[in-house]
Amino acid sequence: MSNPEYICDQISEGNSSSKTTYLKLWKVDACQIYPYTIYAVRFYGNNSLSGQNLDALNIGLAEDFNNIVDHSQSAVSGYVITQYYPQKSQLITSICDFGVGISGKINAYKMSVGEPPVADMGALKLAMEVGYSTKTVPHNKGLGLPNVISTIKDLNSSIKIISNGAMYMFENEGVGLIKAVEPNFGGTLIVIKINTNNLPPEGPLSGNELYL
């Protein structure tokens, strides 16, 4: 942890009263990815959503933070805010950056390999395909955004992704929709609405052993 790149502010517990339903605005950076996701999951797991499995929140946050750090080239990194609405049974998290956007990243990659560019909507479609990667990080396999979307779909919840001039929306049990939006967002915004009625219970540890 001596590398200054990974030195981060201590995450404060803030007001951890069980009546508090929101997590204040956070500025995303590389060192906050794991601490923030764990903090958020514990915050709701120990309070409003005790006993429910919050993997969807964890995955949504971690994948989107990784995208910001690995791909966005956002000068201000990104921001996240999360709130639980008990009367609507919704846990909403919004994550945004002001970087090159999905089309900016994909078209830079396409140019580097001699392929023609695609429009914002086409780029968003590519980013949602399992296995499509711009190879920014050697280990990447193009699973991040598809992982978030499938996790949200599995819970019959909602996700909206706005990146530059394109938007993808999936709501409840509907069909995913991609369309053009104006004005150009100038980065990427992801809003996840988890229907907390559909969260599975946190299961007990299994005493079994098995080989992968």
């Binding site: 971690a62 599975p200 080989y211």
Partner: protein, 90 residues
């Protein structure tokens, strides 16, 4: 999973890869306890299990990685990931 500092990032995945790789290289198998492990990001899985299976192949790791003390949701994440990896290798 006490050997890794988190389960969200590539860097944390590399920590697990290095630990697993050092054992496999020496010809050992291993037990991985998922007690207290939180959900895995794809970056973490790519840099840990993904790298290991890329390096040694599914045949080369058969019977070498035992998972213990797991929540079914965590185990399912790893299994789904490995199934996806198999289809991507093809």
């Amino acid at each position: 999973m006490e050997n890794v500092s988190g389960t969200s990032t590539n860097r944390e995945g590399v920590e697990l890869f290095v630990a697993m790789d050092s054992l496999i290289k020496e010809g050992y198998g291993m037990e991985i306890s998922l007690e207290n492990a939180s959900a895995f990001s794809s970056s973490f899985l790519n840099s840990s299990f993904g790298e290991l299976y890329d390096k040694y192949g599914f045949k080369g790791l058969e019977g070498k990685i035992k998972i213990i003390n797991y929540q079914p949701a965590r185990l399912n994440q790893i299994r789904k990931y490995l199934e996806l990896l198999k289809t991507m290798v093809k």
